[in-house]
């Protein structure tokens, strides 16, 4: 992969923004005028150079000294490009953390070496697991405040293991560091001779999280139909979308859903360019050899059959400040379907103290994570989220306010 998208996670004040600032600063990715502005703001606030101001760009964030919404930053080393999302730790803004994590390949989970794993560490780790982030780096931060001693680090690593299992996190790396001082972020630290592992940046340069959808069977949710209606392209009917799984080539058979009708791909276009194939992640226009009923949310597939069920088991992260009550209706939105839906059953809700799913009372409050059964008015075309992130993710929208109230992952 020549680009790695990663997100920060962890409790409020554990040092996420400072770490991102440090990463940008030490990798020489900060422009002079940005640095001048940060230096001036730091001075006005009576502190030394405060690197968290590189991402905490909103007025309220600077006044309150916390992150409120995700900031996206970009940098590159000779090895690869990075798109990073610095997310808030405060529980009130969990929805923004979910936003930042949903498009990431990897997560940096920060833990204050003095406090260890706390409730927000658990919540964020579960969200990272639910969202299927393939790689996690646990950054044990503020090592300067525990005299750079190894036992403090080892203790956090051991405590995290139970959480890792419960949250279903795969590959996990641990780095002891100080975002404030700069130990083991970009430059190796001389203050922790007991740690022989890589610095955070070199770890990030080498992570190769695997996206299973890239190698899965072909899936192509249609965004819209292209009909030029010009004399030159009189009969042209193309289907525009972004490949959500696998790849397709000219001459391949596909099936159009929901109809279940077969057709052959006879054209693949990117702008005016004709392509032979289209792979995972590409935005193209596809034409078929026969007239089939295709519209927005139709799905073209090859290989195995996609899931076509109106009743779906899913994990849900409730994002809205208004809670869910039994009987309320929502609009279901996914690449392969859009329409009315209701939560038929809240089977279990996650207890962050015990790390177990337990019986709930049927309602869902802000930031709760639950296993639910969803009933859709029309069966959408989907996949299990663990196999295909794009085909398996959905949101619920409040039909009156238009607010995005929940993020869902199909099981």
């Amino acid at each position: 992969m020549n680009v790695l998208r990663f997100t920060t996670a962890g409790s409020v004040d554990d040092g996420k923004s400072t770490l991102i600032g440090r990463l940008l600063y030490d990798s020489k990715s900060v422009f002079i005028d940005q640095l001048d502005a940060v230096a001036a703001s730091s001075k006005r606030r009576g502190t030394e150079l405060d690197l968290s101001l590189l991402t905490d760009g909103l007025k309220d964030e600077r006044e309150q000294g916390i992150t409120i919404d995700v900031a996206y930053r970009y940098f590159a080393t000779p090895k690869r490009n990075f798109i990073l999302a610095d997310t808030p730790g405060h529980v009130q803004y969990t929805r923004n953390m979910v936003t930042g994590a949903s498009t990431a390949d990897a997560a940096l989970i920060l833990i204050d070496a003095r406090h260890g794993v706390v409730e927000q560490t658990r919540r964020h780790s579960f969200i990272a697991g639910l969202l299927g982030l393939r790689a996690v780096v646990v950054c044990v931060n503020k090592m300067d405040l525990v005299d750079y001693r190894e036992p403090a680090f080892t203790k956090v690593c051991e405590d995290f293991e139970a959480l890792r299992k419960a949250a279903g996190l795969p590959e996990v790396h641990f780095v002891p560091l100080s975002a404030l001082v700069g130990d083991n972020v970009v430059d190796a630290s001389g203050r922790m001779p007991w740690y022989q592992g890589p610095t955070l940046l070199s770890l990030l340069e080498d992570l190769e999280p695997i996206e299973p959808a890239a190698a899965s069977d072909f899936r192509f949710p249609v965004q819209l139909v292209i009909r030029p209606r010009t004399s030159e392209h009189h009969d042209f009917r193309g289907y525009a979308g972004r490949v959500a799984g696998g790849r397709i080539a000219l001459g391949d058979f596909i099936t159009v859903w929901p109809e279940g009708i077969e057709a052959v791909v006879n054209g693949i276009y990117l702008g005016s360019q004709k392509l032979q194939t289209a792979s995972y992640g590409q935005s193209v226009v596809i034409t078929l050899d026969r007239d089939v009923n295709v519209a927005r949310t139709s799905v073209l597939s090859a290989g195995s059959q996609p899931k076509r069920e109106a009743s779906l088991k899913a994990r849900l992260c409730w994002l809205d400040s208004k809670s869910h009550q039994p009987g309320l209706r929502y609009e279901f939105r996914a690449p392969g379907g859009q329409g009315q839906a209701m939560i038929a059953e809240v089977a279990k809700v996650l207890n962050l103290d015990t790390l177990e799913y337990e019986l709930g009372d049927g309602s869902l409050g802000t930031n709760q994570i639950a296993e639910v059964v969803l009933r859709c008015a029309q069966a959408p075309t989907t996949e299990a989220y663990s196999d295909q992130r794009i085909m398996g993710g959905f949101v619920l929208v409040d039909p009156v306010r238009g607010a995005t109230v929940a993020a869902g992952m199909i099981q």
Binding site: D69, S283, P335
Partner: protein, 300 residues
């Protein structure tokens, strides 16, 4: 056919996806066209997203009345060439009507009151979506913005209360009178934009390339001499070889000294620059949160 798509290909695919979503979800989606490189790139991507059909968006230009002559020529030529409708909102008209008031004082300019004209144009043309070339790497408040960014009936952005945006599921639901700003190239950097312009052979106004120009030194950058600025005491116009990194209102867009007069030399230069591209824009220097404040009031 390349097997491994490049980073630029990935950014392009993402932008095309976003542009198509805007078309699918809104009734009157448009492109905010400033004549600058970013809005030209968005227009190019929009053409690519719908080929072989034509570009289905009108281009909206907010005309401050203080333009580089070339920006207007380029704009008119460009809309003809791509076959798009052009909608112009005139700041002068807003001033004449009394809905906008010219800023007074030596630092006064028309940057802030553009928002008034923009919102009036949105109302008049019943626009419910404006796509723009805003990028998150431009400015710290922009770094916080969603791809689909909600605006209330007063055109205001509420940065403390943005909708969650999951995966590539963009939620364009809105109440009557509200609209969205959509940013297809959110994840691009200035460098990515330049590499893409070269890869695609996109034509740009010559203001981006170095040439001898009449300028004065004001607020730490070379400001072009035009009918719209009055010289202050001690300011002497001289001829300098400069180019512009961004294009905006001519009274506040400073240039940089440069010999880069070809695309390759501009790219080589941008690679070595240590200042952000908005560093030469007076509108951003006013206070620590000037961009955020303007965005809250409906600015792009």
């Amino acid at each position: 056919m390349k097997e491994q798509p490049s980073f630029l290909d990935e950014l392009e695919a993402e932008a095309i996806f976003v542009i198509r979503e805007a078309y699918a979800q809104f009734e009157r989606p448009t492109i905010l066209f400033s004549g600058g490189k970013d809005s030209i790139v968005v227009s190019h991507l929009a053409q690519k997203a719908f080929a072989p059909a034509g570009i289905p968006f009108a281009l909206v230009h907010v005309d401050t009345g203080h333009n580089f002559a070339e920006t207007l020529e380029f704009r008119d030529r460009y809309v003809k060439q791509i076959g798009a409708e052009l909608i112009v909102g005139s700041v002068q008209d807003s001033i004449n009507r009394g809905t906008a008031q010219e800023e007074q004082g030596p630092l006064g300019n028309r940057n802030r009151i553009q928002s008034v004209t923009l919102l009036e144009t949105i109302d008049r043309e019943r626009i419910d979506c404006l796509m723009g070339g805003g990028r998150r790497d431009e400015e710290k408040a922009r770094a916080k913005e969603r791809f689909f960014s909600h605006r209330d009936a007063f055109g205001q952005w509420d940065p403390k209360n943005q909708r969650p945006e999951l995966w590539n599921l963009f939620n364009g639901a809105k109440q009557p009178g509200e609209h969205f700003r959509v940013f297809p190239i959110s994840n691009w950097t200035e460098m990515n934009v330049w590499h893409y312009i070269r890869q695609e052979g996109i034509e740009l106004p010559s203001l981006y390339f170095a040439a001898p120009r009449q300028v004065i030194w004001r607020n730490g950058s070379w400001l072009p001499v035009s009918d719209f600025i009055s010289l202050r005491a001690g300011e002497v116009p001289i001829t300098k070889t400069i180019r512009f990194r961004t294009l905006g209102d001519i009274t506040i867009t400073g240039g940089i000294e440069s010999d880069a007069d070809t695309l390759d030399s501009v790219i080589a230069e941008v690679e070595t620059l240590r200042q952000t591209e908005r560093g030469n824009r007076e509108d951003d220097k006013r206070s620590e949160s000037s961009m955020e404040e303007r965005k809250k009031q409906g600015y792009f």
